[in-house]
Symmetry: C2
Subunit: 397 residues, 2 copies
DNA sequence: TTGAAAGCGCTAACAT
DNA sequence: ATGTTAGCGCTTTCAA
């Protein structure tokens, strides 16, 4: 079934031989021609060679005579040939893609779906107004910056990146959908059940972005949570002469536990009273509520050392609403170094994680293990950096 | 080749029948067992049914007797069966994945690869110091927020997302790699040659995130650039009584041209002199250099209306260095609404694009066309919103 | 309700 | 240097 085929200015009659196939080469849709795309068979026939030669021309150029290769490549180009990754993956057993399973919290809350097509398009938002689009508190977060590192490193190494989140479907199904497409997997903590992860880990390299919860066979990329929290707490005590400090935030996760440990180490070293627990009950992520409660009880410490920046920002909101001034009345510090901490006043003093680098390490680990499957699991711990801003009491500049 | 197989607490002897295959079921790696993963054949044998039944149990549950289905699913679960997306894609002709081809500017510049493992880990950064990790000027940008919208909507609809950037490889190769894996494609402007895009567009739905440069057969998602720029320019003229305004930034792109048009419309309506050209020479993206030049020439206008936020931020840097105070001496406004515009002082007045929503629209268009291939190309234009902050001269709050 | 069997497009032995 | 061919794991008629 020959057809006219215009390519880059050349008008040429191209024949996609389909003797080998059942179905029609072209699908006619309301008069519009939508080609399914030529395959190796089409290119081979057009170039007058075998499919193996076509395949080799792309994958093993050195195995094909230069002149043949050029010719095949030219024909392929002209026909607009694009190899099917599905077929390649199936035949070769490798997809050259890496998967990343991410959070998707707040996916469809009203906050996340601002009605941009609302009543008054192209209007102005006055300085005092809240722009529903400006959800800088939700993006970019910790995960997003790490994801960016993963992307950049994947591209640099020539790997494709498959990104998945829970969406509305159940986790196992979505995870399976990703796992079925990739050679290696990166997951954020608490996104995938440990047992599922273990199972996947027996099939392909897996990196989890956290301290190991329990000893496992997975790879881990993390930061020195304890040292980071220790340094910022030391700063509060040493530079700002604070002696009444509380730890705010959930300590369920292993990273948060390590941060709490750093906090306690600093207090102990300074000879201060060392609290046994976080001010937040286990599993309670609502930092604002905890702060309101402390205020009501009159038991607010002079400094709040928070498990995450998001906790710290929520705490500062609650304090502001209650008329408590940061850092004058209470100093606040966070952990992560998300962008939102730099916006508004006071800006947030925090312990910054090298998120982009963490993402790059993830890909490095995965690719190493793809190339050398015998490598044992690793745990890479990156350093943090304390960034002093306004909320701890350091001077505004 | 039976082996012990521990699943969720049950210790069971599971036999992966491989009669049909050549290779070994297990690959022994330095004593560690790395399974290739069970296939439909394994599940079928174990469950005592045909592979068709296994497949149907997953894809056409209603075609299988309930009891059989449960049994098959149970066996599959127990064996840790994960369907191969490659095989599915090959057999079914659809991958249920969408591709996004993104920028990757500054990929490996020193700025983008901070030495986080440098000399002094876990140290402090004083308020005055520049933290090399704090590259908030580079992330998140316009693209990143749109990408996030694409991600969220893909997940919501149950599509996988393949993200690609140029990386170090040549564009056509990388594009082909993505195109070979997906059912539909989204591209940022100027990332893919028009001819390549046209070719891909004849095979699968494609959405470009810009005004059409020339009439084409692609889908487009864009914003009302002209109206947005018109409103913010009106504001400068009306609210701040400015009469000497210049447009800064490259106007090569179709979106930028539309913005320049809005700028001119506002000046014309106000009876002011309407410049024929941008202050930046065509193709010159270095806003800071242009500003330095204007200062040197003594021809700085009272207001700089910039094509993008990045231009505006670069301009403000240059002005600050030259001792020119924004907004007192010169008002500056941008376009996009990136997060960096909210950081530091003065904060940037800008025209915000509904980026997350744009990303969602992209997926909506793609999925619609996947379901109804006969639909014609569309162009969706979303409204913008002017966000007044400090750089235009509006009062700080 | 289930099974048999024919591909999907590609890779990589193996043969020539 | 190039061709032949047997799968890769799954979906989907068509038959039973």
């Amino acid at each position: 079934m020959p057809r006219d085929h215009v390519e880059g200015g050349l008008l040429k009659r191209v024949d996609f031989g389909r003797d080998r196939r059942r179905g029609p080469d072209l699908v006619d849709r309301e008069g519009e021609l939508m080609a399914k795309g030529p395959t190796v068979y089409d290119v081979a026939e057009q170039a007058g060679v075998s499919i193996a030669t076509v395949s080799f021309a792309f994958r093993r150029p050195e195995k094909v005579k230069a002149s043949t290769r050029e010719m095949v490549l030219a024909v392929a180009r002209e026909m607009g040939y694009v190899p099917s990754a599905s077929a390649r993956g199936l035949a070769h057993g490798r997809t050259r893609a890496i998967g990343l399973f991410s959070f998707d919290y707040l996916l469809d809350s009203p906050e996340r779906r601002p009605a941009t097509d609302a009543s008054a398009p192209n209007t102005k938002v006055a300085p005092g107004d809240l722009d529903p689009n400006e959800d800088f508190r939700l993006f970019p977060l910790y995960v997003d910056e790490i994801q960016r590192g993963v992307e950049l490193e994947c591209w640099r190494r020539g790997y494709a990146l498959m990104i998945g989140g829970r969406g509305r479907a159940d986790t196992d199904a979505v995870i399976a959908d990703i796992v079925g497409r990739v050679d290696g997997l990166a997951v954020f903590p608490y996104t995938v059940p440990a047992e599922t992860l273990r199972r996947i880990g027996s099939r392909m390299p897996v990196v989890e972005l956290s301290e190991p919860h329990v000893p496992d066979e997975l790879n881990h990329v993390t930061v020195d949570n304890t040292a980071g929290m220790r340094v910022v707490t030391d700063h509060l005590i040493g530079a700002h002469q604070l002696t009444s400090l509380g730890f705010l935030g959930d300590t369920t996760g292993s990273d948060q536990q390590a941060r709490f440990r750093g906090f306690r180490l600093a207090l102990r070293a300074a000879g201060l009273r060392v609290p046994r627990k976080s001010l937040s009950p286990l599993g309670n992520g609502d930092a604002a509520a905890v702060v309101r409660n402390l205020i009501a009880l009159g038991s607010l410490p002079r400094a709040l050392v928070c498990a995450t920046d998001q906790d710290a920002l929520a705490a500062m909101d609650a304090l502001r609403l209650a008329g408590v001034v940061v850092p004058r009345d209470v100093a606040v510090v966070g952990f992560d170094g998300i962008v939102a901490g730099r916006i508004g006043h006071p800006t947030l003093t925090t312990v910054r994680q090298p998120m982009e680098q963490m993402g790059r390490e993830v890909v490095d680990i995965l690719v190493n293990r793809l190339d050398h499957p015998e490598l044992p699991p690793v745990r890479r711990e990156l350093p943090t950096r304390v960034v002093l801003r306004e909320s701890c009491g350091c001077p505004t500049r």
